[in-house]
């Protein structure tokens, strides 16, 4: 037991150290692109950890997580659009302009994603199993087509941002600074999630995954707990989306496409469901493989697929399970 625990600490510590030192490694190698790539990895890791809260811990197999990721990104995009066009976002009943203030915009992105996940979750959580997968998928696709049809905001082409949202003191335009900002958000989110899954609330959520009927017969109004968990996960994805919009300085409906949800799900499965470090490893592995395989062949998915199947088949808890040893239970 002690050994496993040590290995867990080791892996967590090593990953953190690696991410912390990455910009130095990149500058030593003289490869500035690495920072950009790993910023994306951090952002997707954040989204994947939030997805794992509902998927791995809560047993809610949502295929619509990208809806909240996309919502967060579009909040950034739309508010930036109005600054760029010098138009009002809302002229009645009150006048609202766009904004490029990071604190305000990101907070709005998180709140609005939380609101959307509350709405979608409230309806979807009336179902379970395959119906739940399909209904979350359907909602995400609805949002996707909504943004495709929003000609005012670029429709299919999306919105290009002229600059990143601005923070006081902190220079978000600098790639390395922005990288550390994303790392900070990821660390904070993982820490909050860690507290969450070990709290009373987390225990209820884990219980609901393992045995819904028993939870009800013990006296838990389980729907409420699942909904709150769904909203927390949606808010996390919203933050990731807002960061993504800033990183790439571009938002498009592609962010909301269901394949994108699938990709996040793969990150969680690959890294290890029901763990907090797993999704980070999964996001790293998937995006790196994607990056390097695509250099050699455009059919990189043909190689990625079998790899994924092997990992999921043979490692009970994905890469994290492989690294920590077999006997990993829910933490």
């Amino acid at each position: 037991m002690r050994f496993i625990k040590n290995r867990r600490t080791l892996i967590t510590g090593a990953s953190f150290l690696f991410f912390l030192l990455l910009p130095l490694i990149a500058s030593a190698l003289g490869d500035a692109y690495l920072v950009t790539l790993f910023t994306r990895i951090l952002i997707y890791a954040l989204a994947a950890v939030s997805l794992d809260l509902i998927l791995g811990y809560g047993g809610m197999n949502s295929l619509g997580h990208t809806a909240f990721f996309g919502t967060g990104a579009y909040v950034v995009g739309i508010l930036a659009f109005h600054i760029q066009e010098e138009t009002l976002f809302l002229s009645w009943p009150i006048e609202l302009s766009g904004s490029s203030n990071a604190i305000l915009v990101w907070l709005l992105a998180v709140l609005f994603s939380a609101f959307m996940s509350g709405l979608i979750g409230a309806l979807s959580l009336r179902t379970t199993g395959i119906q739940f997968i399909m209904i979350t998928l359907a909602f995400a696709q609805m949002l996707y087509y909504l943004f495709v049809s929003l000609e005012a905001y670029g429709g299919d082409d999306g919105i290009s941002l002229w600059a990143r949202n601005k923070l006081p003191i902190f220079d978000t335009a600098d790639d390395t600074s922005f990288y550390y900002l994303c790392l900070g958000f990821l660390v904070i989110f993982v820490f909050l999630s860690y507290r969450l899954v070990h709290s009373h609330f987390g225990r209820v959520i884990r219980g609901a995954k393992q045995n819904l009927q028993r939870m009800q017969s013990l006296g838990f109004p389980i729907y409420r707990y699942q909904l709150v968990c769904f909203i927390i996960a949606g808010a996390g994805a919203g933050l990731a989306g807002a960061l993504m919009a800033n990183q790439s300085e571009f938002v498009s409906p592609g962010l909301l496409h269901w394949t994108h949800s699938g990709e996040m799900m793969i990150m969680v499965l690959l890294g290890g469901m029901g763990t907090l470090i797993g999704p980070i490893l999964g996001a790293t592995a998937l995006l790196l493989l994607e990056e390097f395989l695509s250099v050699y062949t455009e059919h990189w998915m043909a190689f990625l697929g079998p790899f994924l199947i092997i990992v999921v088949l043979f490692a009970k808890r994905g890469l994290y399970g492989l690294l920590t040893g077999k006997e990993v239970n829910d933490e």
Binding site: F201, G202, R203, Q213, S217, G219
Partner: protein, 251 residues
Amino acid sequence: MMSNTLLKVRQLQKSFGAVEACCNINLEINKGEIHALIGPNGAGKTTLIQQLAGQMLPDSGSIEFDGQDITRLPAHKRALLGLARSFQITSIFGQMSAEENIALAVQAHMGHSFRFWRPANKNKKLQPTIETALEKCGLLERRHIVADNLSHGEKRQLEAGMALAVTPKLLMLDEPMAGMGPGSAVKMTELIQSIKGNTSILLVEHDMHAVFNLADRITVLVYGKPIATGTPEEISHNQDVRSAYLGEGDN
């Protein structure tokens, strides 16, 4: 005057298509008694428990618990009123330790669980209740074992322990001894005996030896109809019961 009746079932009716699983069931359970429900397979015992616990709604009829009509109340609210059940097919949280299984049962009755920050396993308030329950169901030494790794008998003990943890007013045990070896069955009988008094028990069981040892009253259910209710003495001498059920093999 407080009535002595804890659970009152009136003309409960439930059918699945043409099959009448519960046909006009009237049943009363008194405070503090062990009331056994026996009957051949398919008599509708589990269906009745499902309806009492709220996992299934009756077509018609009423259920009154502790002076309150609970016929349409959702399962979790019934649980909080003090109506606990164990399942015929072991229903536990396989990936959690025995202790955490019990902790969940206790937590359910300690107000809402929208507590996001403090580690749940360090909550001192739950601890005494958890320890008592673990001791009652005989799993104190096995508390840290992950439930999936417990033996079948231990799983059944845990199953009962979860229902018992919060001292329910009525405990419904659905075949608690199913698949148990003789040793474990004796343990379970002792466990049931030890909680008698504070908690009323509705016991569904095929082990006739245990039933006649434990029960204050017995109701016999055949094809969804109660054909007799009485003390073990009365039931063992009841001709209808003998021909319909008990004597089936002997005659």
